[in-house]
Amino acid sequence: MHVPVRLGPAELKLIDQLTAAGAVAEAERLSGAGLPTRRVEAYHYTDLKQLLRTVPELAAAATEASVPALRVAGAYQLMIANGVVQETGTAPAGVIVGKAAGGVLSTRDDVVTRLNMALTKECLTLDLDGSVDPVIQIDRRTEGAAGHSTSAAKIFVADDSSAVIVETYAGSEQAHLGNHATYLALGKNAKVTHITVNLAAAKATHFASNEYHLAEGAQLRTLIINAGAALSRTQLFPRYEGAGAHADITGLNLVSEGQHADITMDALHAVPHTSSKPLFKSIARGRSKAVVQGRLVVARDAQKTDAKLMSQGLMLSDEAEILCKPELEIYADDVVCGHGSTCGQLDEDSLFYLTSRGIAKADAETMLVRAFLAELVDPIEDEALNEALTAVIEGWLAGK
């Protein structure tokens, strides 16, 4: 017999919001299933039923804008505030900016993406062609009083084109619930760097879902940084759909006292001869929790897939927790797939060596933490962007 799920105030509020938005089927679905608990594999370490206790009212249109959370010198700026795509100046060569109705993500059995699809009214669209010169920054905010806002962007990068895209998530210092989506399709031999920086307010909840489609020969590098919000979850859905497609999916959880950050990847190698190197790092201090889940699905025909999943954690306090879970689901028989995980504290011998040369202990610790992160930041070639990201990381290290 089916036992009805007991719904909490967060679920009831979401059901009301879905119903008001006309998403009746979604409202019914959520009434039946409730938010996912740890028994749902994809949410094993991020039990939303436990963690998401309240949901604020849907955010009204923004009337004021806080200062940008991240400034990248020379970048072309776009903004979505409280879900509304803002007017912008003249686009650089090779960039067509527009907007369209509705959300951007493919249908999947996942509550975060479904909520985003049901509640997002409009999306930013970007068509990129050729070698796009300035860094493109999509600045997403939730402004004003505590609000629930959803936003979306759909980006097409034409064949043989290249671009660097950075997305930031921030806003006013309130207990917002932000749920953001990106659909990024790379044409044949396109080369894209996609960086996302979660700098959401300290009391906020931040959800982001990025869906990537890689055509033949496409090359993608990501750097997903979770530094803000009390509770955050960034979901990555890369789809390798053409031979020679390759992605360096990298991500970083930076968590301090009271924070819970989750990066969950669910990748599909759909065709033969594709490769990926997902590398996730987490640094946890105080009483905090960082989660990394990596799922690699290799389709029956996807022979010669080469995928190596790695997660590395650094715990700077006794109460910090880092939770990692790989899932490999391989249906082809001629593939090279692997996963690895390391977790620990700063190496005592390295610290002694550095301090024995006169470097103060705190400085030596910072050097070692920087060394741990160099692998993620060094490949970002754009100087201004590299500097901006380094500043975010240094700010976190300095305890800001």
Partner: protein, 253 residues
Amino acid sequence: MTTPMLEIRDLTVRIEEREILKGVNLVVPKGEVHAIMGRNGSGKSTLSYVLAGKEDYEVTGGEVLLDGVNILELEPSERATAGLFLAFQYPIEIPGVATMTFLKAALNAKRKANGEAEMSTPDFMKAVKEAGKALHIDSDMLKRALNVGFSGGEKKRAEILQMALLKPKMCILDETDSGLDIDALKVVSEGVNALRSPDRSMLVITHYQRLLNHIVPDVVHVFSDGRVVESGGKELALELEAKGYAGFDEAAA
């Protein structure tokens, strides 16, 4: 009498429940090079780590005076800026830390402790280049991460380069000859000899006499079972080589 550069008085040290140093007494006057010889497990390396301030050891008694100042309560970094330098037997590889970044941080830490301004980048580059030349250290080696992928000889030369840059007043060389072929041993020894000066003392720890052919000590101490059992001139090293350590064990008993 002038203050010795290093004076160790009745030093006793434990690691967990085991007593490793059992009352070490040793005086190294200014400008002198002393050697400590002893077999593996006699406590030589423990002594070097304790002097540099490694945490794993529990000092249960005694004093260590560097130029008259007791250093046992100081952090490793404070001992270093006070002028102590330990050349490691096994220098640590630190991926992600550029050698030059490390050298600059170490040099500026010392200058800061001495109330001096930070060294400018061109001056720093020049100093490293100059010090590196004598040690056959090329710029390729300096571009790599600290000690990562260095051969045994490169690691030891890098240690001596740090010594040359930091200009310590008390150098401890822990088994600097281990892992070196004869050519590398010569380069390293020449580097060390070039740093001998009336204001600098050295304590060379080894269990082979061969290093002492290249770095000729003023005094040789024989170390056995956690203490110095005999001290003498450089000819003591030859005697040890001939008789073996067994001949000195009675003295320790």
